[in-house]
C-alpha cells in the first residue's frame, strides 16, 4: 500500500492492534532484564508497521509478547494489548490458541524450523485449516492447493504432497506464509522473514507480502534490522533501543529527517551512501546495553555524541517532533527543539508518569 493510502486509513477508524505501555521482563538469578520496557504503538488495517533495531533491542520479544509466547523466566508485567476491543493479556490459554494462527498469524525468520520435517507441506497447511476452520478431506486439500498458488508456488498440485526438504529456501518461506494465511488473518506478524534468504529471493517475498496486503487488507507488523528492507516495506517505523521505542515516524519522514541521535547514527553507519573513496564509515561508540535497571535515565546517553549532564538523571519521554507530515515522536531530551534545553528537560522531567497498574 502506498504511504498516502496508509495515512488515510490511519485518520479514520480504530487501530487493529494497539499496544499500550507493554513491559516484558526476564528474571534471571543475576538480574531482571527489561527486554521490552514500556512501549506503545498502533497498527491499522492495511498498514505495515516496521520495528527496527539492533540485536538485543527487544524487537522479537515484542512480537512474542503480542502472541503471548513469552516463556519463563520471561513475564509480561505491565501494559495492555488491545485487539478487537479486548485485551489479549486477559485471554485464557485456550482463547489465545484460537487467536494465534487464526486472526493473528506469525511468520518467523527461519522457515525450516517453523515447518515440521516429517509431515508434507500440504498436511501442515491442512492442520491449520482443520483446527481453525474445521475443514477436512478433499475440501482441505483443495484449499491448501489454492493457498500455495496464492503465494506464487507453481505446480501446487504436486507440491502440496512434498516435504519441506524438497522445497528451496524461498519456497519454504512462501509455504510458511501460505500457512499463516490459511485462516484469513487480519494481522500478520513477520519476525525477520527475509533475513535468512538471499536478496533475489528476499525481493520475491517482499513483493508477495505487498500483493497479499493489498488483496486482503492485512495489517502487517514487520520486524527487521535491515534499514533497506524497512525503507521498502514499511509505512510507519518504530525504532527500538534497549527495550524502548526511541523514535516513531512515517517511513519517508524517518529517513529524511531522523531526530533521535541513535536513529541518525544508525542511518549514517550504513555503507554506500554517497561516501567518497577512502572516507570512513560513521560509527556509534560502545555497545547496546542490557536494560536491567529502572528507566530513570537515557539508555543511549553513554554512546550519544550529543549527551549532556541531565541525560544521566532524566528519562526522556516520547515528544512530538513532527513538522506537519504525520505523527513523528522521539524520546530525547533535545526535543522539543523550539524551546531552550532547560525547558525541554523540564518537559521530560514532568512527563507523564510511567508504569501504571502493575500486573
Amino acid at each position: 500500500m502506498s504511504t498516502e493510502q496508509a495515512t488515510e486509513s490511519r485518520t479514520k477508524g480504530e487501530p487493529l492492534l494497539s499496544v499500550e505501555n507493554l513491559r516484558t521482563a526476564f528474571y534471571t538469578d543475576k538480574e531482571v532484564i527489561r527486554a521490552v520496557d514500556g512501549i506503545s504503538f498502533d497498527i491499522y488495517r492495511g498498514e505495515t508497521v516496521g520495528i527496527v533495531g539492533e540485536s538485543g533491542s527487544g524487537k522479537s520479544v515484542t512480537a512474542r509478547s503480542i502472541m503471548r509466547l513469552v516463556d519463563t523466566p520471561g513475564r509480561i508485567e505491565n501494559g495492555r494489548i488491545m485487539y478487537d476491543g479486548e485485551d489479549l493479556l486477559d485471554k485464557s490459554p485456550k482463547q489465545m490458541r484460537a487467536i494465534r494462527g487464526g486472526s493473528i498469524a506469525m511468520v518467523f525468520q527461519d522457515p525450516l524450523t517453523s515447518l515440521n520435517p516429517v509431515y508434507t507441506v500440504g498436511n501442515q497447511i491442512k492442520e491449520a485449516l482443520r483446527l481453525h476452520r474445521g475443514m477436512s478431506g478433499s475440501e482441505a486439500t483443495r484449499e491448501a492447493i489454492d493457498l500455495l498458488e496464492a503465494v506464487g508456488i507453481p505446480d501446487a498440485h504436486r507440491r502440496v504432497r512434498e516435504y519441506p526438504h524438497q522445497f528451496s529456501g524461498g519456497m519454504r518461506q512462501r509455504a510458511v506464509i501460505a500457512m499463516a494465511l490459511a485462516c484469513d488473518p487480519e494481522l500478520l506478524i513477520c519476525d525477520e522473514p527475509t533475513t535468512a534468504l538471499d536478496v533475489t529471493i528476499q525481493a520475491q517475498i517482499l513483493e508477495l507480502l505487498e500483493e497479499l496486503q493489498e488483496e486482503r487488507d492485512l495489517g502487517i507488523m514487520f520486524i527487521t534490522h535491515d534499514m533497506g528492507v524497512i525503507a521498502e516495506i514499511a509505512d510507519r517505523v518504530n525504532v527500538m533501543y534497549a527495550g524502548e521505542i526511541i523514535e516513531s515516524a512515517p517511513v519517508v519522514e524517518l529517513f529524511k529527517s531522523p531526530k533521535h541521535p541513535y536513529t541518525q547514527g544508525l542511518l549514517n553507519s550504513i555503507p554506500g551512501q554517497g561516501l567518497e573513496d577512502g572516507e570512513r564509515l560513521a560509527t556509534i561508540e560502545g555497545d547496546v546495553p542490557t536494560p536491567n535497571e529502572d528507566p530513570n535515565y537515557c539508555r543511549f546517553a553513554p554512546r550519544c555524541p550529543k549527551a549532556f549532564e541531565e541525560c544521566d538523571t532524566v528519562h526522556p519521554e516520547p515528544v512530538d517532533v513532527s513538522d506537519g507530515s504525520g505523527p513523528h515522536r522521539a524520546a530525547c531530551l533535545l526535543y522539543p527543539d523550539d524551546v531552550s534545553t532547560e525547558e525541554a528537560v523540564a518537559v521530560h522531567r514532568n512527563g507523564e508518569v510511567r508504569g501504571g497498574d502493575t500486573r
Binding site: E54, M227, A231, S269, P271, D287
Partner: protein, 444 residues
C-alpha cells in the same frame, strides 16, 4: 569490444604486481558413493587475479560457490582442476614444509565469531596459537606479539586472560582478525566477516579492516553477500553464480552500470535505505538450479530475464514467453524432486501420481492468456510426453523448440567498458542487443 582486445587487457594486467593468479579453477564435491558420477560443481572453472594491496570482493547468493572458492584458495578444499598461483607458485600441488610455509602467508577470517573461536582457550592462547604452531621466535616474544596485536585490533592488553564468551560479537571478530594477523600474512581471505554483526558494529569492523590494510599493505579477498558493504570496501568485484564468475571489474563502474544480466538483477533486488526511491525492480523468477546438474549453456539461462529468444519467437508476446519459461522450470523442478516411495506405490496401484496433473498445470499457465496456435501445439506435445512418463523427452522437446544460443552454448567472458571489466553473456557479442538496452525496454 571483441575477445582479442580482452586478451590485450589481460596482458597489461599481468605486468602489474599480481599477488594471486587463478586459472580455470574447479572444485567438485564427490559423493564418495559407488555411483558418484554426478558431482556437485561448486566452483566450475573460474579465472581471475588479484593485485598486491587491493581488495577484491566476491559476491553471490548462498550456494553460488563463493565460500568454496575461498576455502580452495586456502587449501582447505582440494582443487579438482586448474591452478592457483600465489606470488608465482602454484599452491594446489604444495605439500609438506612448502604447504606449511604457504599457510603462513595466507590467513582467513571466518563469518561466525561464535564457532571460529575455541571457548576453552583464553584470548591470549587463541591469538598465540598460530605463532606456536609455526614456532615463531621465543615464547616471551610471542606473548609480547599477542599483546601488540590485541592493541592493533582495538582490544586491551588485559583481555589476554579472558575467554571468548566474555566478549560481544564485534569484539570476537576483532579477536579473529588479530589471530589472522599474527604471522604477518600478505593475503587475507575474509569470509563474510561482518554478516553476523549489527550495522553499527559492522561499520567499526569495516573501518578497522581498512586501517589494517593501509598500515600493513594487506591484500584482501572479501567474500560477502551484502553488496552495499562490498561497494564500500572493495576496489574490484567478482559476481558469482552457480560456480561461475558472471562479471568482474572495478566496483564503482560495475555498481553504476552493471553489464551482466545477473549483476543487473542482483543490484536491482537490493532494498535501498531510502523510501523515496522509485523502483524499477527486476524480480527474478525461481531459484538457482542445482550445481549437480547446471544448465548446458549459460549458467544463468534458466532465470535470465533478458535471455536471447530463438529467431522465430522474437515477436512473441512477453507474457506468453514468460509462461513458457515457467513451464520449462516446472518440468525441471519435477525432475529434481525424485519420487518418494509412497509415490511409487501410488503409481503401481494406478492412483494419481506426481507425474500426472499435466492438464492442470497447462491450464493454470496458459488457460487465461491468448497463446498463438503454433506455440500451443508445441506445449501440448511436450505435455503429452510428460503425461506418458517421459519428462526427459518433454524437456528436450521444449529446449529444441524454444531454446536459443543461451541454452545451447556456454558464453565466454567478454570485455565490457575500458577498465578491464569482463562479463559472461552472449549478449555482449556484436549480433545481439546489449543486456542494458533490453532491460530498459522491460522496465517501461
Amino acid at each position: 569490444m571483441s575477445t582479442t582486445s580482452t586478451k590485450e587487457e589481460q596482458k597489461t594486467r599481468t605486468s602489474q604486481d599480481t599477488i594471486l593468479e587463478v586459472n580455470g579453477l574447479k572444485t567438485y564435491y564427490e559423493d564418495g558413493g559407488l555411483l558418484s558420477s554426478n558431482p556437485v560443481k561448486a566452483v566450475d572453472g573460474v579465472s581471475f587475479d588479484i593485485e598486491r594491496g587491493e581488495t577484491l570482493g566476491l559476491v553471490g547468493e548462498s550456494g553460488c560457490g563463493k565460500s568454496t572458492l575461498g576455502r580452495t584458495l586456502m587449501r582447505l578444499e582440494e582443487a579438482t582442476a586448474g591452478e592457483v598461483k600465489l606470488n608465482g607458485t602454484d599452491i594446489t600441488t604444495l605439500s609438506g614444509s612448502d604447504l606449511k610455509q604457504f599457510r603462513k602467508d595466507v590467513q582467513m577470517v571466518f563469518q561466525d565469531p561464535d564457532s571460529s573461536l575455541n571457548e576453552r582457550m583464553t584470548i591470549g592462547e587463541i591469538v598465540r596459537e598460530p605463532l606456536d604452531v609455526h614456532d615463531w621466535k621465543t615464547p616471551q616474544e610471542r606473548r609480547e606479539r599477542v599483546r601488540e596485536l590485541l592493541e592493533t585490533v582495538g582490544l586491551q592488553e588485559q583481555h589476554y586472560y579472558r575467554y571468548p564468551h566474555q566478549f560481544s560479537g564485534g569484539q570476537r571478530q576483532r579477536i579473529g582478525i588479530a589471530r589472522a594477523l599474527a604471522l604477518e600474512p600478505d593475503f587475507i581471505i575474509l569470509d563474510e566477516p561482518v554478516s553476523a554483526l549489527d550495522v553499527s558494529v559492522q561499520a567499526k569492523i569495516l573501518n578497522l579492516l581498512e586501517d589494517l590494510q593501509n598500515e600493513f599493505g594487506l591484500t584482501y579477498l572479501f567474500i560477502a553477500h551484502d553488496l552495499a558493504v562490498v561497494r564500500h570496501i572493495c576496489d574490484r568485484v567478482a559476481v558469482m553464480y552457480l560456480g561461475n564468475i558472471m562479471e568482474i571489474g572495478p566496483a564503482d563502474e560495475m555498481f553504476d552500470e552493471p553489464a551482466n544480466p545477473y549483476t543487473h538483477a542482483l543490484l536491482s533486488s537490493i532494498p535501498e535505505p531510502d523510501p523515496t526511491i522509485g523502483r524499477d525492480r527486476i524480480t527474478l523468477r525461481g531459484t538457482p538450479p542445482s550445481p549437480r546438474d547446471p544448465p548446458a549453456g549459460c549458467p544463468f539461462s534458466t532465470r535470465c530475464p533478458v535471455k536471447i529468444r530463438p529467431e522465430s519467437y522474437t515477436d512473441l508476446d512477453t507474457e506468453v514467453w514468460e509462461r513458457i519459461e515457467v513451464f520449462r522450470e516446472v518440468l525441471r523442478e519435477r525432475e529434481r524432486a525424485s519420487p518418494s516411495v509412497t509415490e511409487r506405490v501410488r503409481e503401481l496401484l494406478g492412483r494419481e501420481t506426481h507425474r500426472s496433473g499435466m492438464d492442470e498445470i497447462v491450464t493454470e499457465l496458459f488457460g487465461e492468456i491468448d497463446v498463438p496456435g503454433g506455440v500451443m501445439k508445441h506445449i501440448n506435445e511436450a505435455a503429452d510426453y510428460a503425461e506418458n512418463d517421459d519428462e526427459d523427452a518433454a524437456r528436450t522437446y521444449l529446449r529444441e523448440e524454444f531454446g536459443s544460443v543461451c541454452d545451447h552454448e556456454r558464453p565466454g567472458q567478454l570485455g565490457v567498458g575500458d577498465k578491464g571489466r569482463l562479463s559472461l553473456c552472449h549478449r555482449h557479442e556484436t549480433e545481439y542487443e546489449e543486456p542494458s538496452t533490453v532491460f530498459e525496454t522491460l522496465v517501461q
